[in-house]
């Protein structure tokens, strides 16, 4: 009996180790190529998965030149710090990182940068200048854009609900601050409710249902991303409330479809910059000069221009 148990355990462990060896041999890098390491902050979010997928596509175009590894910070600053240390130990030639938060990741990125590894910060930057190039769009400016759009769509004023992303996260703060910097000075428009839905559709749906119960009049909804805007639209539809202005951010495929169907009022494309990051990485490694900061332009998409951006076969 005991022997059998031992055998079983032995087989289990061997399977595990063989599996690991297979993995490691699959991943073995040839020495000649450049090794680019990408530290992603989380992979829960479709926008971030899309960022990685597009980066992999960009890497594929330079298959002979680049080896590519990535890590997943699992939405945890401390985990992401460890990831960067591990990538550094692995001997990457260049680090691309989308920091989960600026301040906590700054010190470890500084260490890598000062050891002579070029660093591209993507989407979110760090608080010091110890990086080679930052590529990203301005969430604050997108928030402003959403504020201006809301103001012009609610000419006669109105009551607005704001559905926020993850509390305390930089994009949430910037998307909110940008929006309020415009809307707060408009006397006719009031933000009558504000709740976080963590950038997820289902919590946004529930929050909107609750607001629809408690607020007799809602004229506009500003959601910090499309997922939440789509959740809010579902709740509005269930209550047969029509003519409510709903604005999202990100520009995901489903949001475009919703715009075409006349449901979502508008969205702002939030570009991820992953293809640019690979181009810039190659330039840096070839010794070419690159600008320190590259701001990606956002684009407002509504019914008038949605056909220009809608790609039925895109991931996101």
């Amino acid at each position: 009996m005991l022997k059998k148990v031992f055998l079983f355990k032995g087989i289990l462990i061997s399977f595990f180790l063989v599996g690991l060896i297979v993995f490691s041999s699959c991943q073995k890098a040839e020495k000649k190529k450049i090794l680019i390491g990408f530290s992603q902050s989380t992979m829960i979010d479709p926008w971030r998965i899309n960022m990685l997928e597009q980066m992999k596509d960009a890497v594929k175009e330079h298959e002979g030149e680049i080896d590519f590894v990535f890590t997943d910070g699992q939405n945890d600053n401390i985990k992401q710090i460890s990831d960067v240390e591990d990538l550094f130990s692995r001997g990457i030639d260049l680090l691309i990182i989308s920091p989960r938060e600026a301040e906590p990741l700054t010190s470890v990125i500084e260490r890598v940068f000062k050891a002579g590894i070029p660093v591209i910060t993507l989407d979110r930057n760090i608080t010091s200048d110890s990086y080679t190039c930052f590529i990203g769009a301005s969430n604050f400016r997108i928030g402003e854009g959403a504020g201006r759009l809301m103001t012009s769509l609610l000419e006669k004023g109105g009551q607005v609900i704001e559905i926020e992303g993850i509390l305390g996260a930089t994009p949430t703060i910037d998307r909110s601050d940008g929006f309020h910097s415009v809307i707060d000075s408009i006397p006719g428009i009031q933000v009558i409710g504000k709740q976080p839905a963590d950038y997820l559709r289902e919590p946004a749906l529930k929050i909107m249902e609750d607001f629809l119960q408690s607020q007799p009049r809602i004229d506009g909804v500003y959601a910090h991303n499309d997922e939440m805007a789509l959740g809010a639209l579902t709740a509005l539809k269930a209550e047969d409330r029509e003519g409510v202005v709903v604005i999202g951010i990100d520009g995901q495929k489903e949001a475009f479809e919703s715009i075409m169907a006349g449901k979502l009022s508008a969205t702002f494309i939030y570009p991820n910059g992953s293809a640019q990051a690979i181009e810039i990485a190659l330039k840096i490694l070839k010794g070419e000069k690159v600008p320190k900061n590259i701001e990606l332009k956002s684009q407002m998409v509504n019914k008038s221009n949605v056909h220009l951006f809608y790609k039925p076969d895109s991931y996101f």
Binding site: L2, F23, D72, E103
Partner: protein, 319 residues
């Protein structure tokens, strides 16, 4: 015949006692073989530093689990203490030492509160700490107004030292982890508290009947867990330079994983902090080597789950 039986018995006993350690050794050798980057002083010290925060929390968790309890609120306490310390430093105008003591005291107090509700309210630890996990997290968000409290340049040098500093080649968080571990090992092996923790976990009713003040010692154990979490929290904000209410989401599960891999029974009464130490290090090395090998993150999570099952199978005594 008799002789071989004796040897078998000895081997079996050694296996039972040291199989977790053997697992660590195997993983270590394996990692050294498959990746040239693994076996360098800097990488190993990095791994130990990465392990420290979870390790300290897990050591506290070991006490709780040894009494057949569980503490799900550790991640939330980590966030609350972090926010409190950062807030007091930034807006409270207090110096580092008073803030340190307030932070540690707050951790202790929150743990004590868990213990009080569990013992005096006679509610299962799982339910109580599930509730406090949610409430304390909410309190942390309320206190920080949902925004990170950024210390940045204002981080006191002593705090920076605790999070990022070195003594010789050894990172300070590693030293703190070792201190907490050695202290706990001493408590469990050599003190009355240690003996009673095993007694309560082994058979609470019997412990009560033999005159042990079970409630008191349970409260002590949960307070200790809170205190250790506060130590981890100080390290975390020293490393991050930020107090944030979303710190340590899901850390209770990492800590429980380290305890379980270390051979401690969730039923209480059986287990050691030495096992937990090894469990935490195994998790740390696993994460490191998978990153060094470039194994995708989705696979990593699957493998980690697999390791937990294997570890528990290995440490199961007498099937």
């Amino acid at each position: 015949m008799e002789k071989s039986f004796g040897i078998k018995k000895i081997i079996k006993r050694i296996w039972e006692r040291y199989n977790i350690l053997l697992g660590l050794v195997v993983l270590f050798i394996f990692s050294s073989l498959v990746s040239g980057a693994f076996l360098t002083a800097r990488n190993l010290l990095n791994v130990m530093r990465q392990v420290s925060i979870n390790g300290i929390i897990a050591v506290g968790m070991t006490f709780v689990i040894l009494t057949a309890g569980i503490d799900l609120s550790v991640g939330a306490i980590l966030a609350m203490v972090g926010c409190l310390c950062a807030g007091l430093l930034k807006f409270g105008g207090l110096g580092f030492l008073p803030v340190l003591f307030i932070g540690l005291g707050a951790g202790l107090l929150m743990g004590m509160m868990n213990g009080l509700v569990i013992t005096k309210g006679k509610i299962q630890p799982f339910i109580v700490t599930l509730a406090t996990m949610t409430s304390i997290r909410g309190l942390a968000f309320l206190y920080s107004k949902g925004r990170p409290i950024v210390l940045g340049e204002e981080t006191p040098s002593a705090l920076l030292f605790l999070g990022e500093g070195y003594v010789g080649p050894i990172p300070v968080p590693v030293l703190l982890f070792l201190s907490v571990f050695i202290l706990s090992s001493f408590i469990l092996r050599r003190t009355v508290l240690g003996r009673y923790v095993y007694a309560i976990g082994g058979n609470e009713e019997a412990a009560r009947l033999s005159g042990i003040n079970v409630d008191f010692f349970k409260i002590v154990v949960y307070s200790l867990s809170g205190l250790f979490v506060a130590v981890a929290s100080v390290i975390a904000i020293g490393r991050l330079g930020v107090g944030n209410a979303d710190l340590g989401l899901g850390y209770e599960l990492n800590a429980i994983a380290a305890v379980v891999i270390g051979g401690t029974s969730l039923m209480g009464g059986i287990g050691t902090v030495e096992g937990t130490f090894i469990g935490a290090v195994i998790l740390g090395i696993l994460s490191n080597i998978l990153n060094l090998l470039g194994v995708g993150s989705f696979f990593q999570q699957i493998l980690k789950g697999g390791i937990i099952i294997i570890a528990v199978l290995l440490s199961k005594r007498r099937s």
